[in-house]
Structure formats: C-alpha cells, structure tokens
Amino acid sequence: MSASQTAAPPLHFDLRTDTVRALNSRLHDPDGAGRVQVSNPDGRHAIAVGIDAPYEVEIDGHVGYYCAGMNKQATVRVHGNCGVGVAENMMSGRVIVEGSASQAAGATARGGLLVVGGDASARCGISLKGANIVVRGSVGHMSAFMAQRGCLVVCGDAGEALGDSLYEARLYVRGEVASLGADCIAKEMRDEHLEQLRALLEAAEVDADPADFRRYGSARQLYNFKIDNVGVY
C-alpha cells in the first residue's frame, strides 16, 4: 500500500444503516483498495466476501456465515466471533478472528492464512486445499476431514476423528487429540516440520514452541480402492 493510501482516512460502513450489498460492492472495486472499517455487523452473513484487492478490513463485532469467503489478497480482521465457514475457499490474504469460529472454518481454502484467536468448532479446515490455519484454542470433531493440502495448527486440543480420510494436508496439535479419524496417523516431527511450524506460528503471531507439538498426517492406505483389482474397476 502506498503512503498516500495509508494516510487516507478509512472508509466506514455501519451495517445498521449501510447494507452488506453496498459494503461488498465497494470492496469489489479493485482500485482504491485501502482501509475499511465495518461497525455493527450484528451477525450478518457474507460480509466482505469475494474481495480481490489488498484491502484492510476491520470488523468491530460478531459476524454470521461465510465472512471473508473466497478472499483474495485482502486482510480481514474480525474483532468478535464468526459464524459458519469463515474464510471458506480463501485463495490468498489473511483472515484473523479474534474470538472463536463456528463450524467449517477455512473450509476448502486454497491459500492464505486463517488465524482463530479462540476455539474453532467442528470440521475446521474441512477439505483444506492449500491454505494454512492456526487456531490458538481447540478445534471440534472431524477437523481437517478430507483435507488435501495446507496445514492446520491447533495450539489446544482436537476433537474426535481428527483428519478423517486425510490426503496430503499436515496437522500440528499441541494438546490432546480425542481420537484420530480413518487413515490419519501420528508422524515423526522432522526438522523441516519444525521449521514449517515455527514459520506458521510466527506468521500468526502466536508465541508457542514448535517442539511442544505433534504432527499427524495420512497413512495413505485409502488412496486406492484395492490395488489387486485396479485393472477391473
């Protein structure tokens, strides 16, 4: 962002008087990306979705479903809690939730960084496709279900069936794991993983020691139906 843009006063949307449509419409203008403040979100859905420019969006309060959905380039910070599917299918940029997130946080996200300051509910990082998610608290059941690429970092505990039907995503958990899902196993933490985790914690501004985490990944036993019969399926 240029110095002149930084100096410009932020745009302000009050969602008690302005519509979500007006907000998103403005955020879809690729020119004039800068700081945007959103007040009184009052749990509304689809706030700051589909941005494709380096906006810096600050949302003061709780948001509903799909906040910052399919984000590209922008930084979206929520000073509150998030409903279902925050940063779903994010492509790039950063989404920071200071409170907790509901189900399917970061679902299918393909790039960028999602940070959840509190806990994330069930299916955090479901079908993850390349983005990184760092949760300071704990995550609910079936987190990283069918996750394909990217990393899920959990500083607290993980619920039942972590990483069920996992593909190539990497899971790092500091606390207890209630149970592992099908084909998900604990794996050795090598130097490359410690390095990766250190970088992720730093990017998320989380003060934690990578050595306290364990790594989980796919056993790759479900990748093919039954190899003996591969020619006849």
């Binding site: 419409s25 859905h45 689809a46 589909g50 479903y65 599917g85 299918t108 079908s127 496709k129």
Partner: protein, 453 residues
C-alpha cells in the same frame, strides 16, 4: 441373442441352445455373471453410462396432435419459437438460450480435454450452454463455450472466485440422478498430472468426492450459501440448484425458498462417468415421475416459469424434449446423448471395444479411462482420436435435430412456441406412466391417483 425356428436360443457366439434349456427370470445371465464377478473380486461394480433397467419413460407417452378443435401450424412456414431465458428471478444478467436443450455438467477429468472442447463448440454453434463438472473450469472450455455454467460441488475441486466471476451462471449441485446421495468418483488411472493439479490431489489416487457440501447443511444454510455466491458475483449471474430426482416436490419447494433462479432436476436415468452399479440402478426415481412433482411444487408457490425448471436423465430424442416441455419443464439437459453424438459407442471402434471386453452399443466402462473414442479418457493417444471440431459439428447436428423434432411435434399440436406444449397435449400408453406423468391413459380420461381410483 436370437430365437431359432425350433424355439431355441442363439447366443452371441453363434452357438445354439436347445429349447429345453430354460433361463431363469430371477437369475438371468446378467445376474449370474455379476454374482460370479462379485465372488471373484470382492468389490462392488463401478461403471459409467446410466441406469440400464427399463423404467417408465417418455416412450410411454404420446402426443394427441391436432384435431377438429385444435388446428396445427404449418411446418417451415409458421413460426414455432424455441428460445428460453433462464435466471429472470434475481440475476441482473439472465441467460438467453436459442434452444431449450443444454449440455449437462461433465467434468474435465471424467472427459478428455478434446471432448470438453467439442461440447463447447457444438453447444455454442446452436446457441446453448455447457456446464463444468467435478473438477473445475478449464480455460479451454471457457474459451469454446459462449455460455458456461460453473458447478459448485461438495468437493469444490478447483473452485475459485475468478472462475465464478467468469461464469455465465452458477449451478449448486446437491445431487445427480445417477446417484442421489453419492459423491463423484474418479479412479486413479484417470488422474493425470493436470487433473491432479486442478484438484489439489496426488496423482494416481482413487478420488472419491465428498457427498455433502463442506460448509452448509440443510435448506436454511443453503439459503445463506446462495446469498454469499450472489454477493461474490454482485447479483449478476443466475444461480441454479441441481438435485437428483428423489423427494422432488419438497426439494423444489426448498430450492425456491433458498433463492434459486433455476432448478436442474436429474432423473435416475441420468448418466455418470463412474458410480457403483448398485447406486445407478437402485436409487432415485425416473424423470417422468419427477417432472409433475416439480411443476406442482412450482405452481403452488406461483413460481412456474419464474424459477426455470431444467430436466435431464434419459433425454434422447426431440420427442423426449417435447414431452418434457409439455409436462412443464422450461428446458432439458443432455449428457449421455451428447457423448454418443461425439462418437461414444461408435461401431468404427468395434475391434477395440472387443479387445477391452465390450462391444459398440454396450460400452459403459467410462471409469476405466480406456475409451477407444477418446471421450472418457485422459490418455493423450486416445484423446487425439477425437477431433474437437468434427465432434462439435456432430453435436450441433444432433442438437439441431432434437430441436427440429421438438418443433415438429409442437406445430402438430398447434403451438407457436415449444413452451406452449402442455399436459393436455399428452396421453399415456401404460397405467404406470399415466400415474407418474399425471396424464390420462390413452383413450380414457383416467389419471390414476388423480381421478377414478
């Protein structure tokens, strides 16, 4: 197989079977072969194509045509329009199609790049749309399809906001007729480097798509999901909801409530590139039975013709198209028929079909990636056999034929637009079809379940 003069059976091999040998109706040769295969392999059968069993279908309906009280239109001289506009409810840029026949969603991955290109070329030539599939949008199909529908599926493979904004409409896929309640399948040998990269998966694995969407559950969530998609695309493009034909009356009502511009309804005869045979043949209802339920639901909500209804699953001829429209659909979608038009199951490949244990007219191993016609494959040598320009021309010819046939029937019923066809123009040949389609049994006024018993 044929019957000899003495009542015996001639097998495909030419061998004659004595009349004293009786085949079981319960354990026929297909059943016996399947039990033997299951015992050998210990795995369900996965295949492509669609349901092969006979179910009540459009062949069980007839048009009444003109009579003393209904005058027909002159073929070629009097206008019979075929255009349809989809997405008039909320989208600021609805889709205008020249013909009421669209190309159903089929993925790059299931199909070769040349096949996708040929579909785009053929559809664009006659002014209709094609649809992506469970694998994302390729630049090639965007380039060759003037009107491209972008599917949002449970797997979300390749999903990205740039393609959403590049699309002419979005189709939220809840299910498909071949497998309502099941997710997509793409077996390892069809996962090339490019397919793997588009789906963010390792090469060569058996890819089983999720069957439920990852970030919403149920109709109330769906409404919010659609709101998000509208916001991302600035309320510009139509949003369709695709469902497999099951609890159609309720699904259609819920799709309308969730904010759909259009509903895509796929009957159990709908095609697939790879699904368990047990799923293909045993889940879902025939499209004939589903259309009247959908139309009833739309009419009760005063949404018929406002939320457009696109039906698919076993549409083969212009007669099928006309009958679907007469029952109340706004348009149809074709998949299997389009692939056959491109060259699938063509007799010129007979020797190769036999080499892989099949025969032209029977080939359904679309999951295997060995398609001699170069359609359901990712092998470059096989794909090269399908000339996308020639394939596109064949598809355009087929679509024109379907349209002409549909117009011929509409004119015979005196209709100046194919959408003016109505159930009153139809009768049924069987009691089952009469009950499902809710039109009278031929020669009677009896509609089982509606009047009489």
């Amino acid at each position: 197989m044929a019957t000899t003069e003495s009542g015996g059976t001639v097998l495909a091999t030419g061998r004659q079977v004595a009349p004293s040998l009786r085949e079981s109706a319960t354990f026929d040769r297909n059943v016996i072969a399947e039990i033997q295969r299951a015992a050998r392999e210990g795995m369900y059968d996965i295949r492509g194509f669609g349901a092969k069993r006979r179910v009540p279908n459009f062949d069980d309906l007839l048009f009444l045509g003109a009579s003393v009280s209904r005058y027909p239109l002159e073929g070629y001289r009097e206008r019979c329009a075929t255009d349809v506009t989809i997405g008039t409810r909320f989208a600021s840029e609805p889709i205008h199609l020249d013909i009421p026949i669209t190309i159903a969603g089929m993925s790059f991955g299931a199909l070769s790049g040349n096949a996708k290109e040929a579909l785009g070329r053929g559809a664009s030539e006659v002014g209709t749309s094609t649809t992506t599939g469970d694998g994302g949008m390729t630049p090639e199909e965007r380039e060759h399809s003037n009107k491209l529908i972008y599917q949002l599926l449970p797997s979300r493979y390749g999903m990205n906001p740039d393609d959403l904004r590049r699309a002419d409409a979005i189709e939220v896929v809840i299910g498909q007729g071949a497998k309502p309640g099941g997710g997509g399948m793409l077996l390892g040998h069809k996962i090339s480097d490019r397919v793997a990269a588009m789906r963010d998966l390792p090469k060569g694995i058996d890819q089983r798509s999720a069957c439920r969407h990852p970030d919403w559950t149920g109709p109330d969530d769906l409404e919010i999901k659609i709101e998000e998609l509208r916001e991302i695309t600035d309320w510009r493009i139509p949003i369709y909801i695709k469902v497999g034909a099951t609890r159609t009356y309720y699904d259609v009502a819920l799709a309308v409530k969730a904010g759909a511009d259009a509903i895509v309804l796929d009957g159990m005869q709908g095609g697939t590139a790879a699904t368990q045979e047990v799923f293909i043949e045993h889940v879902g209802i025939p499209i004939l039975a589903a259309i009247p339920q959908a139309v009833e639901s739309l009419m009760e909500l005063d949404m018929h013709r406002k939320v457009q209804l696109i039906v698919s699953g076993g549409i083969r001829t212009g007669a099928d198209v006309a009958k679907a429209l007469a029952l109340g659909a706004d348009a149809v979608a074709i998949g299997v028929g389009a692939l056959i038009a491109l060259g699938d199951n063509a007799p010129e490949h007979e020797a190769e079909y036999e080499r892989i244990g099949s025969s032209s007219g029977f080939y359904d191993d679309w999951q295997a990636g060995l398609d001699p016609a170069g359609i359901s494959t990712q092998e470059p040598e096989l794909e090269a056999r399908l000339d996308p320009v020639l394939g596109g021309r064949r598809l355009a010819n087929y679509l024109r034929t379907l349209t002409l046939e549909c117009q011929t029937l509409a004119r015979a019923c005196g209709k100046s637009h194919v959408h003016n066809l109505e159930p009153e123009d139809l009768c049924a040949l069987t009691i089952e079809a009469a009950a499902m389609a809710r039109v009278p049994l031929a020669g009677t006024s009896w509609i089982p379940g509606v009047n009489g018993i």
